[in-house]
């Protein structure tokens, strides 16, 4: 056993935490706690980006870390929290699949993602290459969450978690995207959440519920 340098250990720990938080989100029944978990995931992402920036001496990563902190830890959770307060949906989540089954499915996804990432990370040269599998797993778990949840707001949260995973993949594979791309994505996500919030209000107005099953009965007249 040869111990890794401290920064690599820290990045590995944070990656593991990220994966754990993804599973916690998958298992969570209450929407209010789901938002808190999302904020926590953002915080872990922020710390890991800072650690990577220090380790790799990449200055543009500091900006994206600051962006992460502002957007994903403070602004987006705040918007979501306001949204669920206004819509009165703090508590209920209807899952299509039972939660233990979801967790086992998630486990299979993680195995799949790790297998998929192994040859890619063997080619990468960055210090954080081994965490690519975890980033991929986070993305896939967010997908799973979007699929298995019935309420629209949980799907929005799943979408944001997926973005977190993509961001982590970008930092771990290539030390982050170019600044222009990153700014664009951040703005996109912000606007996306705002638009989705308006959508949610409209869905509720139309059907008196946020259950997306009602959307299936829509017909062209």
């Amino acid at each position: 056993m040869n111990p890794l340098p401290l920064s690599s250990q820290l990045i590995n720990l944070l990656a593991a935490l990220l994966l754990l938080l993804s599973f916690a989100m998958l298992a969570q029944r209450r929407i209010a706690l789901l938002v808190q978990l999302l904020a926590l995931q953002g915080l872990v992402l922020f710390i890991s980006t800072v650690v990577v920036a220090i380790r790799a001496d990449q200055h543009h990563l500091y900006y994206s870390a600051a962006l992460t902190l502002m957007l994903k830890v403070i602004v987006l959770p705040w918007i979501l929290y306001r949204l669920i307060r206004r819509l009165h949906v703090q508590w209920d989540i209807e899952t299509l699949v039972k939660i233990p089954t979801t967790m086992l499915l998630g486990l299979m996804l993680v195995v799949f993602a790790f297998g998929l990432a192994q040859p890619i990370s063997a080619l990468a040269v960055t210090v954080t290459r081994s965490t690519l599998g975890i980033a991929l797993a986070v993305v896939l778990l967010a997908f799973l969450m979007m699929i298995t949840r019935r309420k629209a707001i949980a799907q929005v949260i799943g979408f944001l978690a997926m973005e977190n995973g993509l961001f982590f993949a970008a930092t771990s594979a290539t030390y982050g995207m170019p600044m222009v791309v990153e700014l664009g994505v951040a703005l996109d996500v912000l606007v996306g959440v705002l638009v989705l919030g308006i959508f949610l209000f409209h869905i509720r107005e139309q059907f008196d519920s946020l259950d997306l099953q009602h959307l299936e009965s829509l017909k062209e007249r």
Binding site: P3, Q9, L13, A16, M103, L104, V110, F114, S130, G133
Partner: protein, 316 residues
């Protein structure tokens, strides 16, 4: 294997047998304090065992030899488990014979024995308890095995003394996989020892009881042995946890005999802290419905497997 190793082995088993009821008493005392109740005396478990040993055993008419033999099997298995786990030294003749997988097998033997005894009399409660115990057991066992596999991947051996020796020697490092395994192990410990999120041995409510339903028909010396064995089981689980996750202080392979004394003191300190921590967990958590138990244990299994995957992928 020399005389000192054998002596260490004997001392360790004796410590386990003698201290286990005290440890249970300490956990109960902490729990009572945290719940603002008057705490029972620290030696309450010993008093209970002494009282039970003085009584005459009553057996059901239809009791078969299985029913009479099981308390001894249970106690014997737990003593054997205590002999395998390195609590104060890794130089154990028994530890070399059986590894972690055999350990899980021994726990399974005890579980099967008590379930058989519970069904032997033919009362409704007995079979109910046995069924529930088997449900919990079959879910907890893979999680426990996965925890052992995670730690053995780190070291390259499933023998507990080898694991401890390797973990003690190398320098302090952050191991996410070990953290995952530790949480999973804690959940398995709670489920297997009939602690609160899964079972509450202090109640006699038929809707909730698991362990208690199985031993309702026992009395006197049989019950005393069963109580002692369950105290030993809790002690054993705590010691497995120490060996895998906080192994510092356990005397290493070629340590002198004098290293045993600080190891024992450190073990006592760890037991004190772990006991109060356990009481805290039991106080802050509510008992789950029995049908939520699979979810709880599925989470434990998931964490253990994640630990192993992270170990394989990140190598940490």
């Amino acid at each position: 294997m020399n005389a000192i190793d054998v002596l260490t082995q004997v001392v360790e088993v004796l410590i386990a047998i003698a201290v286990a009821p005290l440890y249970l008493g300490w956990v109960n005392q902490c729990r009572a304090w945290l719940q603002n109740r008057n705490a029972p005396p620290l030696l309450q478990t010993y008093r209970l065992i002494r009282k039970l040993l003085h009584k005459d055993a009553v057996l059901a008419t239809h009791a078969s030899p299985i029913f009479r033999g099981v308390p001894y099997v249970l106690f014997g298995t737990m003593v054997l488990v205590a002999a395998i786990i390195p609590t104060i030294s890794v130089d154990l003749p028994f530890g070399r014979v059986a590894d972690a997988i055999a350990l899980v097998g021994l726990f399974a033997t005890a579980r099967v024995a008590i379930a058989l005894a519970a069904m032997d009399i033919g009362t409704a409660f007995g079979s109910l308890g046995a069924r529930r115990e088997m449900l919990i057991g079959f879910l907890a066992e893979p999680a426990l095995l996965m925890v052992f596999f995670t730690t053995s991947l780190l070291v390259g051996s499933t023998a507990l003394p080898a694991t401890v020796a390797a973990l003690v020697q190398h320098e302090l490092a952050i191991y996410p996989s070990l953290a995952f395994a530790a949480v999973a192990f804690l959940m398995v410990l709670l489920a297997e020892n009939a602690r609160i999120p899964i079972d509450n041995p202090a109640t006699h409510l038929e809707l909730t009881m698991i362990h208690e339903a199985m031993v309702l028909e026992y009395s006197a010396r049989h019950l005393a042995l069963i109580e002692w064995a369950s105290a030993l089981k809790l002690f054993n689980y705590a010691c497995i946890g120490f060996a895998l996750f906080v192994p510092w202080g356990i005397a290493g392979g070629d340590a002198p005999v004098t290293a045993l004394l600080p190891a024992t003191v450190l073990l006592a300190a760890k037991l004190l802290v772990a006991g109060s921590g356990l009481a805290l967990i039991e106080t802050v958590s509510a008992k789950l419905r029995i049908f939520r138990a699979p979810e709880f244990l599925a989470t434990a299994f998931l964490l253990a497997v994640l630990g192993m995957l992270i170990r394989l992928l990140l190598g940490s």
